[in-house]
């Protein structure tokens, strides 16, 4: 804990938002109450989360060291002080800092640099929601950190927890030639209006909002948000009016849902009031007990869009008018930006090859003639304190301090006079920030994964780093069609790396081989990044983590060799079909024994053997294929068939086959403990419920009973008709149920091994 924490409390903080400073005082009091045992740990956890202070891997005080799970003896362990359920007080955590619409100025960058150095590990991390995150922070340092942020008008409030998360927006808003108008002041207005608003304090789950200036580009990713708006203009009584297409109920998560259009033209003066009404309906009717079905997408799926809209309209009519609904429109130009330097054309001298590469991929021409936006491609979203300060200097030297973070974990510098670009490049190069390839296959998005996230299954950053290095080495000799593909990696099924909307997406899973666990990634193909994250890819199979680079090489190689003129990767995948893709990758899915290739049993960037328990090495390890492994493989085959049916638009059959795959997985597990279980589905379900669901054996440590619930609900709906959306969802759910079955089987295996190892029972 920092020695200066008490000194920061005494500092006078000049903030444009004095309420935020008061909030920090309250939070600090809550920390003290928790330390004194006067505040319940669950309540403190939610309070902490709503201040952006999030848990981090190993904060339960346990860590697998490659040989055994070690207890980390934190000083607070002696008093059993926790900051949440199973979360040790002294264990370092993550602090998330909101950056509404990604807007930053140089002073804010400098403070971020100081915080990274003094409280964290010297690195600031840009997230896929335009936030910043700092890691390895002690909870008692967080109030001082928040005070320093408040002094530059930044907050962590409601950055995590069941609240309105950072409001994101296209980073080119205001300078983009395809936008209807600049959404920046609207994003800012809504973010400020909803921050701490009483109507957003009682959600069952988080709520994410995005703004986009146009429909066709990717930048806003409206389609995957709980609430998203796209700028549109309309002539009303001969006058041009600004408004928004309003979408609700989108989201990635374990099973992605595309957002639904609820309003074709929401007038600008109705944006805040309607958002408030949506919040109230969500707070009132959204699920509260089962957090796995608590996002607004489930409420909308349950009610239907029309009924949801009716309820929102009804709610809107009952709201007491609030002057803030339209007051922000009077200062609509508050976020307007101006250039620092006059237009100077880029002269025609011969520049270096490196400059030309950077210019080709990282420079984006603004709608304002003579100005450009430069993208700083951050490796894995990471930037050092020194780079942050250097970037602040560059922003002051060439612009009026106009910077934005992006959802692909980069930073853009706006309003650069094109004549300044060579100097900007040289200045960035000195900082090590001039890497070309922004927005290309090199520029890989990744969630934190097993590096710091408690939910991570596989090392998404490790894989992304490896792919980034490999792609960078050959990017400039690649076919242009491949250069422009997007790769996104998540450490688990929760999609923080946005793998569903990538051309090539990957998410972490595990598989068992003998008595070992092997890190794998599910390969997700055919997502659409453009059109605001227009459509979602589907998993085609799991491949050992160490072989994913080969997967990328094979798929991109075949795309180059066989694509039709102008054919997108998504269309190419659709055309050749999943059967061929599966055949292409089939040999890569085979797991060698530990003796043959021990490297397969470790993850990228992690020297420890990958495992989830203390299983010993049994005789004939790696050669035994159990009945259960066959059964789970059969279930995987079925879900694959369901995907093919989905591609063929045979929705009914796809849904039914997906259900059958879940049933097979369940039957496999039941047979592990009750081999002669009758084969009637009702009996299998009955036994599964009693033996695996009710006992919580099938539950995921973090997702709880969600996956078992998917199966039980699917069983209840047998015989019903499937729409395209429902069939798509059932296939996604089946994939997750099978993953959970693999995990559950691992638990059964571990329990058996433990039993075998009991004294006196060896050889039994």
């Amino acid at each position: 804990m920092k020695a200066s924490n008490s000194l920061w409390r005494e500092q006078k903080i000049e903030s444009s938002f004095p309420d935020l400073v008061r909030e920090i005082d309250i939070y600090e009091t809550e920390i003290e109450l928790r330390k004194q045992g006067k505040m319940d740990e669950k309540l403190f956890a939610e309070t902490r989360l709503r201040r952006g202070a999030y848990g981090q891997r190993y904060d339960n005080g346990k860590r697998w060291d490659g040989k055994e799970t070690q207890t980390l003896p934190y000083p607070s362990s002696a008093t059993e002080l926790t900051k949440g359920v199973n979360t040790v007080w002294d264990a370092p955590g993550m602090e998330r800092i909101k950056v509404p619409f990604g807007g930053m100025n140089p002073a804010q960058l400098e403070v971020m640099a100081e915080l990274a150095e003094e409280y964290s590990d010297g690195i600031a991390h840009v997230t896929t929601r335009q936030d910043f995150q700092l890691h390895f922070i002690h909870v008692e340092d967080t109030p001082a950190l928040m005070r320093r942020l408040a002094a530059v008008d930044m907050t962590t409030r409601e950055a995590c927890g069941n609240s309105v998360r950072n409001v994101t927006a296209c980073p080119y808003s205001g300078v983009c030639s395809t936008e209807a108008f600049d959404v920046t002041p609207y994003a800012r207005g809504l973010a400020l209006f909803l921050l701490g608003h009483p109507d957003v304090q009682d959600f069952g789950r988080k709520f994410k909002v995005a703004f986009s200036g146009c429909k066709d580009e990717a930048c806003g990713l409206v389609n995957m948000h709980d609430m998203g708006v796209i700028a549109v203009k309309k002539i009303v009584d001969g006058v041009e009016k600004r408004g928004f297409e309003l979408y609700v109920g989108g989201g990635l998560g374990t099973v992605p849902h595309p957002a639904k259009l609820v309003e074709e033209f929401l007038p600008e003066e109705e944006l805040l009031s309607t958002s408030q009404a949506i919040s109230r309906v969500f707070a009132r009717l959204g699920e509260k007990k089962n957090r796995n079905r608590a996002r607004i997408k489930f409420l909308i799926a349950q009610l239907g869009v029309d009924e949801f809209k009716r309820l929102v309209d009804e709610e809107r009519a009952t709201l007491t008018p609030d002057p803030r609904w339209t007051a922000y429109l009077e200062e609509i130009h508050i976020t307007d930006e101006k250039p620092l330097h006059p237009v100077e054309p880029l002269n025609t001298e011969n520049y270096s090859e490196d400059f030309n590469k950077w210019y080709k991929t990282n420079i984006w021409h603004q709608k304002q003639e003579g100005y450009a936006t430069a993208t700083i491609a951050l490796p894995l979203g990471d930037i050092t304190a020194d780079q942050l300060r250097g970037l602040a200097d560059i922003a002051r030297r060439f612009t009026n301090g106009t910077l934005r973070t992006t959802v692909d974990q980069n930073i853009v510098l706006r309003w650069i006079s094109k004549g300044d670009l060579p100097e900007v490049y040289e200045a960035l190069k000195e900082l090590g920030l001039s890497q070309a390839g922004a927005g290309t296959i090199v520029d890989i998005t990744s969630c934190p994964g097993t590096d710091t996230c408690k939910l991570g299954i596989a090392a998404s950053r490790g894989l992304a780093g490896e792919l980034r290095q490999r792609m960078a080495e050959k990017s400039h000799t690649m076919d242009e069609a491949v250069q422009n593909l997007h790769i996104k990696v998540s450490g688990c099924f929760n999609s923080c790396g946005q793998h569903h909307i990538a051309d090539l997406g990957f998410y972490g899973v595990s598989r068992h081989s003998g008595n070992y666990t092997v890190p794998h990634f599910q390969v997700v193909l055919g997502g659409e990044w453009t059109h605001n994250g227009g459509s979602y890819g589907l998993a085609v199979g799991a491949v050992p983590a160490k072989r994913i680079p080969q997967v990328v090489d094979r798929l991109t190689g075949r795309y180059v060799a066989e694509r039709l003129k102008g054919e997108t990767f998504k269309d190419f995948i659709q055309r050749i079909g999943k059967v061929q893709i599966k055949n292409m990758l089939d040999d890569l899915t085979k797991i060698p024994t530990h003796d043959e290739d021990p490297s397969i049993y470790t993850d990228w960037g992690d020297s420890r053997e990958f495992t989830i328990g203390d299983m010993g090495i049994g005789e004939c390890a790696g050669e035994i294929v159990s009945h259960a492994e066959f059964g789970l493989a059969a279930a995987e085959r079925q879900v694959f068939e369901a995907q093919i049916l989905l591609d063929e638009k045979s929705y009914q059959q796809a849904g039914e086959t997906a259900y059958a795959s879940m049933l097979k997985a369940a039957q496999t597990l039941v047979e592990e403990v009750f081999f002669n279980v009758p084969k009637e589905p009702d009996r299998i379900v009955e036994e599964f419920r009693a033996r695996f669901y009710d006992t919580k054996l099938f539950w995921d440590e973090y997702a709880g009973g969600k996956f078992g619930h998917y199966f039980l609900r699917a069983h209840e709906k047998v015989g019903e008709q499937y729409t395209a959306d429902e069939a798509h969802r059932r296939v996604e759910e089946a994939q997750l149920v099978i993953e959970a079955a693999h995990s559950c089987y691992g638990k059964l295996l571990a329990a058996k091994t433990t039993l075998i190892a009991l004294p006196g029972q060896q050889g039994s």
């Binding site: 804990m1 920092k2 020695a3 200066s4 000194l7 920061w8 500092q11 891997r57 190993y58 860590r63 060291d65 490659g66 040989k67 070690q70 980390l72 003896p73 934190y74 000083p75 002294d90 264990a91 370092p92 400098e110 100081e114 150095e117 003094e118 590990d121 010297g122 690195i123 890691h135 390895f136 002690h138 490796p379 894995l380 990471d382 930037i383 050092t384 020194d386 780079q387 300060r389 900082l431 090590g432 920030l433 590096d451 490790g462 780093g465 980034r468 290095q469 960037g605 020297s607 420890r608």
Partner: protein
């Protein structure tokens, strides 16, 4: 002046010889074997960023890192937990910790530290601002400490004048020292976690 959160860095003589994959595995072994006095938690790899914190061994009381800030690779000890005692006690603790770790890396992993240049940073801008006044107040303690560390050999103390930096002093001795020799400056009872 309440000196806390001392950072101390010794530079590598042979940075080109570092096998980071091997060091990452070594750091994991340090956690596994509880090799150091501090509670060690995890390894963090930031080798992908330019002139960054490199490879880190995250701990509760302190972090160790093969740090590449300013393009100079060295072993950095970042004391996070506050310490009781005099400023000399705190300098002794930090220096002993980093030299002890450097000694292991030399013995086990073939690294070589030059022992001639040292960087001291106080990682708390409010506690110790990077001002002339801070330097004036801290200088006697620094001199006292480095007189002993370098065993009377001449050295220079140079404050980094950049006001945006944390309080930073670069120290350079007239001759090189090896890590073993420097470690002898600390009697066992003078250091504690």
């Amino acid at each position: 002046m309440n000196i806390q959160h001392i950072n101390i860095k010794f530079y590598l003589e042979n940075p080109e010889a570092v096998n980071f994959q091997e060091i990452a595995a070594a750091f994991n072994t340090w956690i596994q074997k509880k090799l150091l006095e501090e509670l060690l938690i995890d390894v963090a790899d930031y080798l992908h960023v330019h002139n960054g914190p490199g490879l880190m061994l995250i701990g509760h009381e302190a972090d160790y890192s093969l740090d590449n800030r300013a393009g100079r690779l060295g072993l950095l000890y970042n004391r996070k937990k506050q310490l009781e005692g005099t400023t000399q006690d705190k300098l002794n603790q930090a220096a002993h910790a980093v030299l002890n770790a450097a000694n292991i890396l030399e013995t086990e992993n073939g690294l070589k530290f030059n022992g001639q240049e040292v960087q001291i940073v106080i990682n708390d801008r409010l506690l110790v601002p990077n001002t002339i006044e801070s330097f004036t107040a801290f200088e006697p303690d620094l001199k006292n400490f480095f007189d002993k560390l370098f065993n009377g050999t001449e050295y220079t103390l140079e404050q980094d004048a950049n006001p945006r930096e944390r309080f930073t002093v670069n120290v350079k001795a007239a001759t090189r020292f090896d890590v073993q020799t420097l470690l002898q400056a600390f009697p066992a009872e003078s250091v504690h976690v």
